[in-house]
C-alpha cells in the first residue's frame, strides 16, 4: 500500500473545492485548508491512521452543497456592500454577451445545420404556438362577463326508460318560482332561441339565432350596447336589439335605433339598441335580441308548462354561495311543481347548475343553445403539438451532438485556457437559447401567416391579434424556456464532458457522436410521422366509407327544401310539391317533417300490443311523412304495404314502422307486426307496413326504431328526386317555381348527400388537422435527416474515397449509404403500426358502422415515410458517391 501523502491529498482536495465552490476566493480556500490541516493533526494525535485521519478531517467540512450556497450568498452581499454590484452584473452580462457572440460565430461557421435547426424549430414552435393559442381560445369561453365566475346555467336531468337524458334546457315557469323561493340567487334570466326572417325594405336576413330574453339579460350578462340603453332596451315587447353584424347588414351605415324591421313578414318591431360585436368566445351568439314578453304573446303555453323544455335559464349566485346547495333547492322547487306525469315517469327528476365558464368546453348536455367545444379534439391537438415540438427538439439535439465531433477541438482549447465544465455548459445552453429565440421569432411569423388558414381547418376564426398580449408573451416565454432547456441540456452536458488532452493530441474520443442515440431519435421521429400519415389515411378512408355507405335509401339525386316557417309555402306545402313535380326531370317529390342528417327526431310515447297480447308502453322517434316518402327515397317495404296514394283512406291512424322498431317490439317476423293495434297522440290505429331499415341520423349511431305516420300539418320539408346528371340544370327552374309561389323564404335547396355529410363536419376537420400535422411532422423530421446525412457523409468522405479507389460502383455506394436510413424508417413503421392500429381502431369504434384499419393504410404510410426519407437523402448520397476520390483523399 502507498504511503499516505498529505500534501498530495490536500492539492487534489483544493482542486475539488475549486471546481465545486466557484464563489470562494483564494484566501477563503487557504483558511479552509488550515482548518483541515488542524483537524488532521488532531486526528493523528489521537492515534488515527493518516488516511483515516485525513478522511475524517475532510468530512469535518460538512455538506459541500450547503457551504456553496452560503458562500454564494456572502458573495452577493459583499458585492452589494462594496458598491461593485453593478460592475459585477455588467461583467456577467458581458460574459453572456460573449456566449452570444460565440453562438453567433458557431452558427455562421455552420450555415446548413444552423438553417435546418432554426427552420425545423421554427416550424415546430409555430405549430405549438398555434395549438397553444387554440387551447387558450377554447378554454376561456364566456369569461368576458363581469361576474362570469358566479353565473351558472340550470340544466335538467331526466330519465326515459332508465336512460338519463341531460338537457341544457329547462321548463319555462321554473325561473320566476325559483327567484321567489330559493335563497342565494342574485339575478336570473331565461332565454329561448328561435328562427326568424328579419326584413327591412329589400334586405332579408334568414336567422336561426333570434334570442328571446327576460329584461334582466343585460344585468346577468355583459354584452355592451353601442347604441341604446340597456336598462330599457327590452322593456317594450315590440322593441328589439340588433347585433352589430345584423344592424350593419340591414341598415348599412344608418343609425337603426328608432327604426323598424319586419319579422317573419308579419310583425313590425322597433330597434331599441345595437350591440357591440359579440365576442367570439361567447357560447351564445345571436343576430337579434327580443323580449320574452313578445314570445309570451305568441307562445304563452310554454311559459306555463312544467313539462316542456323550451328555455335556457342562467342565474348569478350571491358571492360565496354553494352551487350544489342551490341546485338542490332548485330541484326541490321543480319537483314540487312538476307535471305529475313527469314525476311518474321519472321519480329521480332533478336539476343541476353548470358554471358558465365551463359550459362551452365541458358540458355534454343535449339541446345546447349554441356551439360547443370538443375537449377530445383539444387533447389530441395538444398531444400532436407536443410530438411535433419533440421532433424539432430531437433534431436540434441530434445536430448539436453530431457537430460536437467537429467542435471537440474548440472545446479542448477552451478547457485548456481555463474554462470549467459549468462555463462550457452555460455556453452551449446560451447557444440553444439563442437558436430557440430566433426560431421563435420565425415561428411567430409563420403562425401569424398560417393562423387564419389553420383556423379554417379547425373551424375557428383566429388571428394573432385576437389573442390577449400577455397570453402571447407568456406562451412565447414558456416555449423558449422549455424548448431551450430540453434542447440544450443534453448537448451541453455531453460537450462539456469532452476531455481536453486526447482531443488536442489528435485522438478524438470515440463515444462522442453517440450513434445509438441518433438512430433511436430517427426511429422515434419517423414513427410519429408514420402514425400521423396512417391516421390521416384512416380518417379519410372512414369518411369515404360513410359517403359510399348504403344508408338504406338512395342519396344521390335527392334535393331537400326547407318550407318551415314560410307563410306562403307552409300553408299549402302540397301545392309546392305538385308545382315542383311538374318540372320536367323531377321524377318524385315528398313532404316530411324532417330529412336525414337534420335534427334528431322527437320521441313520441306509444302503446302497442305485444306478440304475447300484452300492452307495451314505449316510445319511438316519429318521422311524419306523406304517401310518397318511401317511393321518393327508394326505401323498400318488407312487409305489408305503404300508405295509399289516396291518403284519405289511411290518414293519421296508419303506421309504418322500420325493421328495427318491429324487432324492438318483440316480433321475430315483420309480417307478424302487420295489423297490430297501437295508441299514441292524437289517435290510435294499426300498423300497416314495415319498411326496410335506413340510417336517418349519423352513422355514429345504430339504426334505431322509427315510426312513420301521416300528419299533414307537420310537413316542413320537401324532398324531390331527379337524375343526378340533371341536378345543375334543375336548380334554377326550381328556384323560379319557388319565387313564383311568392315564398317569403330565400330559396334554400340543398343536395341530400351534402346535407348528410354536414353531420361529419367535425370528422372532416379532424382529417384535415391530421393531414396538416402529418405534413409538418414529416417535413421537420426530413430536415433533421437531411442535415444529419449531409454531415455524416462529410465525415465518411474518406471512407467513400477509399471504396471508390478499390472499385466500388456508384450504385453500390448509393445503396450502402442509404441502407441505414431505409432500415431506420422501416423500424419506425414497425414501432408506429401497432400504435396506429390501437388508436385508430378506438376512434373508428365511435361509429356504429365503420371501416377497419387495413394493412393497405399501414403499407402506404410505410412507403410514404420511407420514400420521402430516401428521396431526401438521395441527392446527398449520389453526390457523395460521385465524388472524385483523388480530391477527397488529397484533402488530408
Amino acid at each position: 500500500m502507498h504511503q499516505f501523502d498529505l500534501d498530495r491529498a490536500i492539492a487534489s482536495w483544493r482542486q475539488f473545492i475549486l471546481s465545486r465552490q466557484p464563489y470562494m476566493d483564494d484566501t477563503q480556500r487557504d483558511e479552509l485548508e488550515a482548518h483541515v490541516r488542524d483537524a488532521f493533526d488532531d486526528n493523528v494525535a489521537t492515534g488515527m491512521e493518516p488516511r483515516s485521519a485525513w478522511e475524517k478531517a475532510r468530512g469535518s467540512i460538512g455538506e459541500y452543497g450547503r457551504m456553496e450556497s452560503a458562500y454564494h450568498q456572502n458573495f452577493w452581499r459583499h458585492k452589494a456592500k462594496d458598491g461593485s454590484l453593478n460592475g459585477e452584473l455588467r461583467n456577467r452580462m458581458s460574459i453572456v454577451w460573449n456566449y452570444f457572440l460565440l453562438a453567433f460565430r458557431s452558427a455562421k461557421k455552420r450555415p446548413l445545420p444552423t438553417f435546418l435547426n432554426v427552420s425545423g424549430l421554427s416550424i415546430g414552435l409555430a405549430a405549438c404556438l398555434i395549438i397553444g393559442i387554440f387551447v387558450w381560445h377554447q378554454s376561456t369561453f364566456d369569461r368576458f362577463h363581469a361576474e362570469s365566475e358566479r353565473i351558472y346555467r340550470i340544466g335538467t336531468d331526466y330519465r326515459i326508460d332508465g336512460d338519463v337524458i341531460q338537457s341544457a334546457a329547462t321548463v319555462g315557469p321554473l325561473l320566476p318560482v325559483v327567484m321567489e323561493s330559493v335563497a342565494g340567487i342574485e339575478k336570473a334570466v331565461r332565454v329561448s332561441m328561435r328562427d326568424a326572417e328579419l326584413q327591412r325594405n329589400e334586405r332579408r336576413l334568414e336567422s336561426n339565432q333570434v334570442l328571446f330574453a327576460d329584461s334582466a339579460f343585460f344585468d346577468v350578462f355583459t354584452f355592451p350596447l353601442a347604441r341604446g340603453n340597456a336598462a330599457t332596451a327590452l322593456a317594450d315587447p315590440l322593441g328589439v336589439v340588433l347585433s352589430h353584424e345584423s344592424a350593419r347588414f340591414l341598415f348599412g351605415t344608418e343609425d337603426p335605433v328608432g327604426q323598424t324591421i319586419l319579422v317573419d313578414n308579419t310583425i313590425e318591431v322597433r330597434i331599441t339598441g345595437v350591440l357591440e360585436p359579440i365576442p367570439q368566445r361567447s357560447h351564445v351568439q345571436f343576430d337579434m335580441l327580443a323580449s320574452t314578453a313578445a314570445l309570451q304573446m305568441m307562445e304563452s303555453w310554454i311559459f306555463e308548462n312544467w313539462f316542456s323544455f323550451y328555455f335556457y335559464s342562467y342565474v348569478t349566485l350571491t358571492p360565496n354561495t354553494d352551487a350544489v346547495e342551490v341546485a338542490g333547492a332548485i330541484t326541490q322547487v321543480a319537483r314540487d311543481r312538476a307535471h305529475p306525469e313527469l314525476i311518474r315517469r321519472d321519480p329521480g327528476y332533478s336539476l343541476a347548475l353548470e358554471p358558465l365558464e365551463s359550459v362551452y368546453l365541458a358540458s355534454t348536455r343535449l339541446d345546447q343553445p349554441g356551439v360547443t367545444g370538443n375537449p377530445g379534439l383539444l387533447r389530441i391537438m395538444v398531444g400532436i403539438g407536443l410530438l411535433i415540438l419533440f421532433i424539432a427538439t430531437v433534431n436540434y439535439v441530434n445536430m448539436a451532438t453530431a457537430l460536437s465531433l467537429g467542435r471537440s477541438r474548440e472545446i479542448g482549447i477552451r478547457k485548456v485556457v481555463g474554462a470549467d465544465r459549468g462555463q462550457l455548459s452555460r455556453q452551449f445552453l446560451t447557444e440553444s437559447f439563442l437558436t430557440v429565440s430566433v426560431a421563435l421569432g420565425a415561428g411567430l411569423l409563420i403562425a401569424s401567416i398560417t393562423l387564419p388558414k389553420i383556423g379554417d381547418v379547425i373551424g375557428v376564426n383566429l388571428t394573432l391579434g385576437s389573442i390577449e398580449p400577455r397570453v402571447l408573451v407568456f406562451l412565447c416565454l414558456g416555449l423558449i424556456l422549455v424548448t431551450a432547456l430540453i434542447a440544450g441540456w443534453y448537448p451541453a452536458r455531453m460537450m462539456s464532458r469532452i476531455p481536453a488532452a486526447p482531443v488536442l493530441s489528435g485522438s478524438l474520443p470515440g463515444g462522442v457522436s453517440k450513434g445509438q442515440f441518433r438512430r433511436l431519435a430517427v426511429v422515434l421521429q419517423f414513427s410519429i410521422s408514420f402514425i400521423l400519415i396512417a391516421a390521416t389515411l384512416i380518417v379519410d378512408k372512414q369518411l369515404g366509407f360513410i359517403q359510399t355507405y348504403d344508408n338504406g335509401y338512395r342519396e344521390d339525386g335527392l334535393i331537400a327544401l326547407d318550407l318551415s316557417g314560410d307563410q306562403q309555402l307552409g300553408s299549402n306545402p302540397e301545392r309546392v310539391r305538385s308545382e315542383m313535380l311538374a318540372i320536367p326531370g323531377i321524377r318524385a317529390a315528398t313532404l316530411s317533417s324532417a330529412v336525414p342528417g337534420d335534427q334528431p327526431l322527437g320521441d313520441w310515447n306509444m302503446r302497442f300490443e305485444s306478440p304475447g297480447g300484452d300492452q307495451v308502453n314505449t316510445s319511438f322517434p316519429h318521422l311524419l311523412v306523406d304517401q310518397h316518402f318511401l317511393d321518393t327515397y327508394e326505401i323498400p317495404i318488407v312487409a305489408g304495404r305503404s300508405f295509399r296514394q289516396d291518403i284519405g283512406a289511411d290518414d293519421t291512424r296508419a303506421l309504418i314502422l322500420n325493421e328495427t322498431a318491429v324487432k324492438e317490439l318483440g316480433f321475430e317476423n315483420p309480417e307478424d307486426a302487420i295489423g297490430i293495434r297501437y295508441d299514441a297522440f292524437p289517435d290510435g290505429g294499426e300498423v300497416i307496413g314495415v319498411a326496410a331499415d335506413f340510417h336517418f341520423t349519423s352513422l355514429r349511431n345504430n339504426v334505431g326504431g322509427i315510426a312513420m305516420r301521416y300528419m299533414a300539418d307537420r310537413f316542413g320539408m320537401l324532398t324531390v328526386r331527379a337524375e343526378s346528371a340533371q341536378l345543375a340544370s334543375l336548380l334554377p327552374r326550381m328556384e323560379s317555381v319557388w319565387n313564383d309561389l311568392r315564398a317569403d323564404k330565400v330559396f334554400n335547396a340543398e343536395l341530400m348527400d351534402e346535407v348528410v355529410m354536414q353531420q361529419y363536419e367535425q370528422d372532416r376537420r379532424f382529417a384535415r388537422f391530421f393531414s396538416v400535422s402529418a405534413l409538418v411532422a414529416i417535413v421537420i423530421a426530413l430536415m433533421g435527416l437531411f442535415g444529419q446525412i449531409s454531415y455524416s457523409l462529410r465525415q465518411r468522405s474518406k471512407e467513400i474515397g477509399i471504396r471508390r479507389v478499390l472499385g466500388a460502383e456508384t450504385s453500390g455506394l448509393t445503396f450502402l449509404l442509404s441502407r441505414e436510413v431505409v432500415i431506420l424508417t422501416l423500424m419506425a413503421a414497425v414501432v408506429g403500426a401497432p400504435l396506429t392500429w390501437l388508436a385508430m381502431s378506438k376512434w373508428l369504434d365511435q361509429f356504429a358502422v365503420h371501416t377497419v384499419v387495413g394493412p393497405m393504410e399501414l403499407v402506404i404510410a410505410t412507403l410514404v415515410t420511407m420514400g420521402v426519407a430516401f428521396l431526401t437523402i438521395l441527392g446527398s448520397t449520389l453526390r457523395a458517391a460521385h465524388l472524385n476520390p483523388v480530391d477527397v483523399l488529397r484533402r488530408d
Binding site: 450547503r66 452560503a70 458562500y71 456572502n74
Partner: protein, 112 residues
C-alpha cells in the same frame, strides 16, 4: 426545534461571545463549542466559515492572518466595538428568553 434551526438561530451570538473573550480562529471556535457542550454541539466547518465572513462583512468582527511561534499560519477573528454592542443587545434578548424558560420550567409552588 431541530438541530439545524437551533444552530442557525444561535451561531452568531455564540461566535461573538467566544470572540469577546479573546481573538480566535475557525477550528478553535468549533473545538471550544464542542468542549463546552461535552460534544453535544459539533459544528461543521462549512456552516461556521460563511458565518464568520458574514460577521466580518457587517463589521461585527475583523480578521487578520497570524502565525504564532511553532504553529501554522491561520486566519484570526476579533470582535469590534460594533460587534460588542450587537452582542450586548443579543445578551438582553437571550436573558429574557432564559428568564422565561426558568419560570416556565421551575416546579409550580404548592397551592395548598
Amino acid at each position: 426545534m431541530d438541530k439545524r434551526s437551533m444552530t442557525a438561530a444561535t451561531v452568531e451570538t455564540i461566535v461573538l461571545s467566544i470572540l469577546a473573550r479573546q481573538p480566535s480562529y475557525g477550528y478553535d471556535i468549533i473545538r471550544q463549542v464542542s468542549e463546552m457542550t461535552g460534544g453535544a454541539i459539533e459544528w461543521a466547518a462549512g456552516s461556521l466559515y460563511p458565518v464568520l465572513h458574514r460577521l466580518e462583512l457587517d463589521a461585527r468582527v475583523e480578521s487578520y492572518w497570524m502565525q504564532p511561534e511553532g504553529e501554522r499560519k491561520r486566519k484570526y477573528y476579533r470582535i469590534t466595538e460594533h460587534g460588542l454592542a450587537a452582542l450586548e443587545r443579543e445578551k438582553q434578548n437571550w436573558s429574557t428568553v432564559q428568564n422565561l424558560f426558568d419560570q416556565l420550567w421551575s416546579p409550580l409552588p404548592s397551592t395548598r
